[in-house]
């Protein structure tokens, strides 16, 4: 029993199960596969971005620009498909390149100009969103070829495609962080930057890498969301950065750096998604939903701290 409680993700898993149990008892429609898949679909866009955010936060950084990167990637793909009639694959790749480039710029601002991550990415938050509006003039862009929207709206074995994307990316991100040299160095940089450097880690390279990954994954989210909605909009993903950060932090990623896992982040995203879904089913107003989400963030972290204290 004691050993189980030492697994880091266990606390967050308990919260999730309690939440699901409660909703299963109090509402009739919660524990149906249809509803659960909808909830999963809704969190997939947040969760995919949160994998990148987790890596950024492990390095003791923060990326506030992911929501805007989602927006501009979405707009780039939409414009290329709709206005320029570009083939689907190059259009999608261009959108991902856009996201990655934005992430690289974040990385360079932070490592070469030595800007604090909060400031650099806050600037990029504004720049990205602004460019998305400039490119579209604020108008939504649609329609798209069906081959494209099918990627977002289709299912495989009854599971929505964005959810499958989320699962595959989670596995890749988990393996990357846990079993590769680069993954280990990401933890090292966040655990102690100076010690990492003195151990021969190219710290700047690692930092640029994580922001580029965060940008790339925000690009993927942008692509999936555009394909799912069937429309490209400049305001896509607005405000998502807070949900993304919350997912990582609820999942046990330490803002001090050096600690965090993909599994934890998925659970963190799931808690937020299930909570939103459940509150809707319970008929709670969307205004109160925000209050509830805030409370969960605070309690989840407090619970984790408390558990950490007991473990010592």
């Amino acid at each position: 029993m004691k050993r189980i409680f030492q697994i880091k993700e266990i606390g967050i898993l308990i919260i999730l199960l309690v939440l699901m149990g409660f909703l299963g008892i109090t509402t009739r429609s919660f524990l149906t596969s249809e509803n659960l898949l909808t909830a999963l679909l809704n969190i997939s866009f947040i969760a995919i971005m949160a994998f990148g955010e987790t890596m950024v936060i492990i390095t003791a950084g923060i990326d506030l620009s992911v929501g805007s990167i989602l927006g501009i990637s979405s707009v780039v793909i939409a414009l290329l498909l709709h206005d320029y009639h570009m083939a689907m694959v190059p259009a999608i790749l261009s959108g991902l390149l856009m996201g990655t480039t934005m992430g690289l710029v974040n990385g360079f601002l932070i490592t070469k100009l030595k800007l604090p991550p909060f400031i650099a990415t806050m600037g990029m938050l504004s720049i990205g969103r602004g460019l998305a509006y400039v490119l579209t003039g604020g108008w939504p862009i649609s329609p798209f070829p069906e081959t494209f929207t099918n990627i977002g709206q289709g299912k495989l074995f009854g599971i929505p495609n964005p959810v499958l994307f989320m699962i595959v990316l989670a596995i890749i991100a988990h393996i990357f962080l846990k079993y590769t040299v680069l993954g280990r160095r990401i933890y090292a940089v966040g655990g102690n930057l100076n010690a990492a450097r003195l151990s021969g880690v190219k710290v700047d390279k690692i930092l640029i890498l994580v922001y580029a990954i965060a940008g790339f994954l925000a690009g993927i989210s942008g692509f999936l969301m555009t394909a799912w909605l069937g429309v490209g909009q400049a305001n896509a993903g607005q405000g998502y950065e807070l949900d993304v950060i919350a997912a990582a932090v609820i999942g046990g990623t330490s803002l001090m750096g050096g600690e965090g896992t993909i599994l934890g982040t998925i659970l963190g995203a799931a808690i937020m998604g299930i909570l939103r879904n459940g509150l809707i089913l319970l008929g709670v107003s969307s205004f109160w939903q925000q209050v509830a989400i805030g409370l969960v963030i605070i309690f989840a972290i407090a619970f984790d701290r408390l558990r950490g204290g007991l473990r010592k």
Binding site: Y179, T180, V181, L182, R184, R185, Y187, A188, G191, N192, N194, A195, A196, R197, L198, S199, G200, V201, K202, G258, E259, K312
Partner: protein
């Protein structure tokens, strides 16, 4: 008994992986200078941190003037009249001397500081300390370290402290500054203040202390009136064994020069040239702030350097980053293992393999079996005491943490190993093991640069001793000509020497 000011009874303190204090009893008398000596890791600092409210003990009581007290914080202790001057100075460099001395007890007028009164009272204290040449409005950061330390003492005087604790107060002072400090300690004593003086410099203890407590491995192993004890007895108690078994050194340097540094310049050092032979232990001595650490950090590529050349086996090399240094088979064990040497929240295994990950990877993936094998092997070789290789480094004792840092580099089979204060803050047993290890490494042909502020260690372990003062290399002494006096002579900044003569 009536003149007992402070008494501690059966104080126990445990940290993860190490028991720092094992039932300490001690009394401190009014108006005495009470020295506490012991090797690093003996528990001196932990004891004073408990007395000054930084830590709370796991067991045991503190009595102040006969009354049981429990301090929740240093501020709490201060309000009871116990003030500590730690090694790390706590003056606020951007505030004036007066503001620093009276911080936290400023008199205000409708919420505004009354500077006239503040300066007047500061002047009185500065006069009392005989440093009235300093103006109360001087910005503290512009003063020398020694004066900043005196300002801290001034702060203690201003609070009318009964007990002033000084933790290694002379570690960054020149001889003259030490004299000034001792004069002030004498004055404090005359005024009935109890001074608890932590040091491992025995000559100082014999100059100013009334009584001396000796600690070793968390225990009190002796207490003497200073005129009833000789230095050798104290050392024996501190070290816990005969000195000849403590330092093991029978390695001999070979003729081959492996590293040459020529005209090396950086922010904190100038025109440094020296060479290092294969299998040699080259000691680097000097006062704190002489630029030794900065020199080593530049050699290792962690800090930039302006000018100068490095030759490795006669070939000129360029080191721009620690990774370059590592690729040239150079390793560095930094001065502060917690801030620079280790990633404390990572496991012993992950720490040991961090610099060598590139050597155990396949297609970017870490060969885990290989990693576990290396970690286990190193833990065994260096007899690192840890429940498992999956233990986080932060739960290890200082000595074992240091061995993990050494293991990191030994795993890479370095040709040159720079050790910056390799035995700082570790217990006596671990120290002896590290000396033994250094000797073995040198015998295997590894060249070692050892920066150390502990003269006994420098004298015992070095084949040659390089001495630095104010960023310059002032001497390189051969093993047969080196002595404590010679080192101190070359370590003392010239500006001070010329003033004294």
């Amino acid at each position: 008994m009536s003149d007992t000011v402070l008494e501690v009874k059966n104080i126990w303190k445990e940290f993860p992986g190490v028991i720092a204090l094992k039932g300490i009893n001690e009394t401190f008398l009014k108006g005495e200078v009470h020295a506490i000596v012991g090797e690093n890791g003996a528990g001196k600092s932990t004891l004073i941190k408990i007395i000054s409210g930084v830590f709370s003990p796991n067991k045991g009581d503190i009595f102040l003037k006969g009354k049981k007290v429990r301090f929740g914080s240093p501020i709490d202790a201060k309000s009871h009249g116990i003030v500590t001057i730690f090694q790390e100075l706590s003056v606020l460099p951007n505030l004036s001397v007066a503001e620093n001395i009276f911080i936290g007890q400023e008199k205000t007028n409708l919420g505004f500081l009354s500077y006239g009164d503040l300066y007047k009272r500061t002047k009185e204290i500065l006069e009392q300390l005989e440093i009235a040449d300093i103006s109360p409005s001087t910005i503290t950061g512009t003063l020398s370290v020694a004066y900043q330390q005196l300002i801290e003492i001034g702060r203690a005087v201003a609070t009318k402290a009964d007990v002033i604790i000084m933790d290694e107060p002379t570690s960054s002072l020149t001889e003259n500054e030490v004299k000034t400090l001792f004069k002030i300690i004498g004055k404090l004593k005359d005024n009935g203040v109890t001074v608890i003086y932590i040091s491992h410099k025995l000559d100082e203890i014999f100059q100013i202390a009334d009584r001396v407590t000796i600690m070793r491995d968390g225990e009190k192993v002796g207490i003497y009136n200073i005129d009833e004890v000789v230095e050798d007895r104290i050392i024996e108690l501190m070290v816990g064994r005969k000195l000849e078994n403590y330092y093991i050194k029978d390695s001999k340097p070979r003729n081959e020069v492996i590293l040459q540094v020529k005209g090396f310049n950086g922010e904190k050092f100038r025109n440094v040239s020296f060479d290092l032979r294969k299998g040699e232990i080259l000691g680097f001595s000097g006062l704190v702030g002489a630029g030794r650490t900065e020199l080593m950090m530049s050699l290792f590529g962690f800090l930039p350097y302006d000018k100068g050349e490095i030759y490795l086996k006669g070939k000129k090399i360029n080191i721009k980053s620690p990774l370059d240094a590592i690729n040239y088979n150079i390793g560095l064990v930094p001065e502060d293992r917690k801030l620079q040497g280790l990633i404390l929240i990572m496991t012993v295994r992950e720490n040991i393999t961090l610099p060598g990950l590139d050597r155990i990877k396949i297609a970017g993936f870490i060969k885990l079996a290989e990693e576990y094998r290396i970690a286990k092997q190193k833990v065994e070789e260096l007899s690192i005491k840890t429940p498992s290789i999956e233990q986080k480094a932060l739960n290890l004792s200082g000595g074992n943490q240091q061995k993990v840092v050494l293991a990191k580099w030994l795993n890479l089979r370095p040709e040159i190993l720079i050790l910056d204060e390799p035995t700082r803050g570790i217990d006596v047993g671990a120290k002896a093991e590290i000396y033994k290890l250094m000797n073995e490494m040198a015998k295997e042909g590894i060249s070692i640069i050892m920066v150390s502020s502990e003269l006994p260690e420098i004298l015992a372990m070095s084949d040659r001793v390089a001495v630095m003062a104010e960023g310059e290399l002032t001497a390189v002494l051969e093993r047969d000509e080196v002595s404590e006096e010679k080192i101190m002579h070359y370590a003392t900044p010239r500006s001070v020497l010329s003033k004294a003569s």
